[in-house]
Amino acid sequence: MLQVFQLLVNGVMAGAILAVPAIGFNIVFAVLQISNFSIAALIAVGAYAGYTANVLLGLPPLLAILAAFLISGAAGVASDRLALRPLRGYGAIAVAIASLALNMVLENIVRFIFGNDVRSLDVPMMRDWIFEGIHVGPQAVFNFLVAIAAMVALFSLLSFTTVGRAMRAVADNPTLANIKGIDPEKMARLAVFLGMGMAGIAGVLLALDTAVDPTIGMRVVLSVFAAAVLGGLGSIPGAVVGGLLIGLAEQLSTLVVPVAYSSAIGFAAIILALLLFPRGILGDR
């Protein structure tokens, strides 16, 4: 029983971190109607931006996270402009495939600059807190809180600001938004910046959780995509729900299957979601 509670706690913490890039994936999907799989490489870009800020420049983790947000966001916008935007006229599938190629290019740029070595961020080792037999790492709690804060910030931006409303208007009906005076290109750039910035934040959180290497994004991208699909492509609350469910499912699955198979949970979740609720739990399109 204790083990189940432990896994539930771990699952919620892992799920919150997965939800951050899942939101990023979905905000891009909502505004551009495009699946941008280069999010995996932008998680890695964020992780290395955080590493550079934290280890090489000696900045504290929160500033490293901010740097990762800005650099992944900017890299996302620049690479979208160069590699994906010219293909938009050829349809969503063409862009999705191009984003896979872009992902490889970006990942290899990271590899070229930083090499293949596994590196870790400069944070103190801390003893776990133990509540009624359940272990919780202070670092994991920090990461969880940062994930929540990032989601609340993005959610507030979308809900309570003019530019957030404008972005949701473009997601709803791009033609009408244009008639009402909203520049769809500007909103598309902003959505990519915010979405890939979220991926960057997740990169640092994953790096803080374990370590940094160029495949850090590829290791989680299936779970991220599963969270986005399960919650409903294009839905921000859906990404949060999807992230938590995938996080929990991956942890709880270790009760019945070997840990090595827990990444298959992502596949299973995508298939189940597409069979049971093709539009995702909170999708409405």
Partner: protein, 237 residues
């Protein structure tokens, strides 16, 4: 001097033949002009062309003495030419309040006061400000779309079948509102299925058939023209 002048307009959708063939209309300041004609005549295409959603292949399109041909929809709106499409004319996942605020996106000064003003004019909106637009009935949705258009202080409204889905009574009310809006100095171009209702409320009208100008004239004369009543308005008496 007319406020809006379209002349010799040919236009169509990409990769297809012209839908509009040499169409011309003029709308004076403070004038209500009805665009009538059978389904598929090109009425919506004409409004979309003026609004910048369809690019004219030939002809001239002037608003207030300056060309608006080839402008993006948002630049056309910025000039004060505000188009309310026939369908998909609100943002379903935004609340009514948010829809109105997006309606006023081009001019965000005194947003609160202007939302209040529009709500006063269209009371059904103020009762449900926090509801998502997707929960509105067809008629309420049309009123919201109108309300959004009023948020920017338009100089001319282009309305595509705004009474679709309204009861006859609600349609009358909407036309009364349109006249009040006109009285504040706004020109109105309205596509309307109910030709009698439109001619009773408009100053002038154009009839389009198969993408061409068929007839035009003062609304009153057209109402009394037996041939027009028989051929275009489906009047059988």
């Amino acid at each position: 001097m007319s406020l809006l002048r379209a002349a010799g307009i040919s236009a169509g959708y990409s990769g297809r033949d012209d839908i509009l063939k040499d169409v011309g209309i003029e709308v004076g300041a403070c004038e209500i002009v009805a665009i009538l004609g059978p389904n598929g005549a090109g009425k919506s295409t004409l409004l979309k062309t003026i609004a910048g959603l369809v690019t004219p292949r030939s002809g001239t399109l002037d608003f207030d003495g300056r060309s608006i041909a080839g402008l993006t929809p948002r630049d056309v709106s910025r000039r004060g030419v505000v188009f309310v499409p026939q369908e998909a004319n609100v943002f379903p996942s935004l609340t009514i309040q948010e829809n109105l605020e997006i309606g006023g996106y081009l001019d965000r000064k005194e947003m609160k006061a202007r939302v209040a003003e529009v709500c006063e004019r269209i009371p059904v909106l103020s009762e449900r400000r926090r509801a998502k637009a997707r929960t509105l009935s067809g008629g309420e949705r049309q009123l919201l779309a109108m309300g959004m258009a009023l948020m920017v202080g338009p100089r001319i409204l282009l309305l595509d079948e705004p009474t679709a889905g309204l009861s006859p009574l609600a349609a009358e009310t909407l036309f009364r509102m349109i006249k009040l809006i006109r009285d504040t100095g706004v020109a109105v171009t309205i596509v309307e299925q109910n030709a009698i209702l439109a001619l009773n409320n408009a100053d002038r009208a154009y009839i389009l058939v198969d993408g061409r100008n068929a007839r035009s004239g003062p609304a009153r004369d057209m109402l009394e023209d037996r041939e027009i009543r028989r051929v275009f308005l489906g009047d059988v008496d």
